[in-house]
């Protein structure tokens, strides 16, 4: 597949999307000393971060390589919207306050593709707003995936036990379910 190093404009757009949702400086910490690189795949573009010492190899000989995956997969860009990869979820989750802590039962249901209901929520930052993406953590603070809040966080105490709080966007059980 064709790869290209990410130009500053495209990288700026990605940085903005990540930082707005998960906190200023998150993208910079995530990238570290690595360089961003894109690989086009169907209608989307996969974004990776690679160590600087790989750059010269790719510049000189990369054209002949059918690279399918490289380094750290940051996410994908589709129709201008950036989606985080499962590869980096736990890393980003440690850098942000945008998370929802769920009970053992809620965690299990979430990894089977279910969304989060009120009775599963143990902790949620009250400043988070409806539509915002949050990391879903279990009681050990292990990242299980990403969900989108379906309600403003400060309103959840008004909800019934079985009402939806956050919709499952991606979870760590996805690959297992897909591959069997």
């Amino acid at each position: 597949m064709k790869f290209e190093f990410v130009d500053p404009v495209a990288w700026g757009a990605i940085t903005q999307q990540i930082d707005i949702e998960f906190g200023a400086g998150v993208t910079k910490s995530l990238l570290g000393n690595r360089a961003p690189l894109m690989i086009s795949k169907n209608s989307s573009q996969m974004v990776y971060a690679i160590p600087p010492e790989w750059i010269s190899i790719l510049m000189e000989e990369g054209e002949n390589l059918d690279i399918q995956f490289i380094g750290k997969e940051l996410g994908s860009v589709e129709k201008g919207r950036f989606r985080l990869s499962l590869h980096i979820l736990s890393e980003v989750a440690k850098m942000t306050n945008s998370f929802i802590l769920v009970s053992k039962r809620g965690a299990e249901a979430f990894t089977y593709g279910r969304s989060i209901i009120r009775e599963s929520v143990l902790e949620l930052n009250p400043t988070l707003e409806r539509g915002q993406r949050v990391f879903v953590l279990n009681e050990n603070k292990e990242c299980l995936g990403v969900a989108a809040l379906s309600v403003d966080a400060f309103k959840i105490n008004r909800l019934g036990a079985d009402r939806l709080v956050a919709k499952n966007l991606v979870d760590i059980g996805w690959f297992i379910r897909r591959l069997g």
Binding site: E61, L65, I67, F69, I70, G71, A107, E108, I172, F175
Partner: protein, 327 residues
Amino acid sequence: MTKKELRQRAKELAKEHGYLQYMIERYLSLWGEEDTLRFIKACEQPIRTAIRVNTLKMSVDLLIPRLQEKGVTLETVPWLNDGFYADFNESSPGALLEHMLGFYYVQGVPSMTAVSVLNPEPGDTVLDLAAAPGGKTTHIAQMMENEGLVIALEQDRQRMTSLRSNIIRCGATNTMVIRGDARKLDDLPFQPNKILLDAPCSGEGLIPLDPTRKTSKTMADVRFCATREDEMLEAAVNILAMGGTMVYSTCSIAPEENEYVLDDILKRHPEMSVVEISAEFGSSGYSEPYGIRLNESLKNARRFLPHLHKTEGFFICKMRKKERSAQ
């Protein structure tokens, strides 16, 4: 036993136990009747499930009690740092949260052993040929502590999905997955100092896991695999850096796919030599299978056999390429 008697006995045993005759003939020639019967019996027994703790994400000390709390019984594999026999009792090994989190990988003991023998270290450049589904790729990355470069080569588009998902699940960040044919490595712009070639094979060691293998492959299939393995080995030897190390492994017990192929490589490449494996496991490779004398050093290779080691059948050989001689 004369050749005629051997054939007759092989025919009887093959019929009795549901194997193709050519397979039993070869086992009788290699091991004699007593061990052949032990092999056949062992192939009817289940293989113990094993896991590798993925130390990129979790320490052994933290994971073991956590799994034990969930009813998993664990026993150390003596020659592996992070390998454990695991009895999941009521649970399915792939369904636990710890598996989804990438804290362990369900993997056969021989497969873990092959990577352990290669001994990848931080900073190495390692080429993993025919890499999907990624058990060995992620193990290599783990031993390298995500430092250096793992080039994972895979040709099959379908299997690429499982390779990618396992890299992601296990948190390996030093891999470059390339689609390509392991027999054509000339264009790769790397000179790996370590290569793992776990070659696609006839799977003759997998009878305990897949009983259909007793009848699914003919001798022609074994020969076809041997030819492909020879081509892959040739390509791997050529790209390996001088002074580099290579591990060749298969899940086949057939000498035709193992010692014979390596003997040919050693004849064609005097710069390659078989080296001793320091860890204690398995039994020696064959230097005179079916009475045909091969390179004596092939005794340094190791075999896992179901009737001797209670694992699937497997072959591991470690080789080194000579350093460039000073002019």
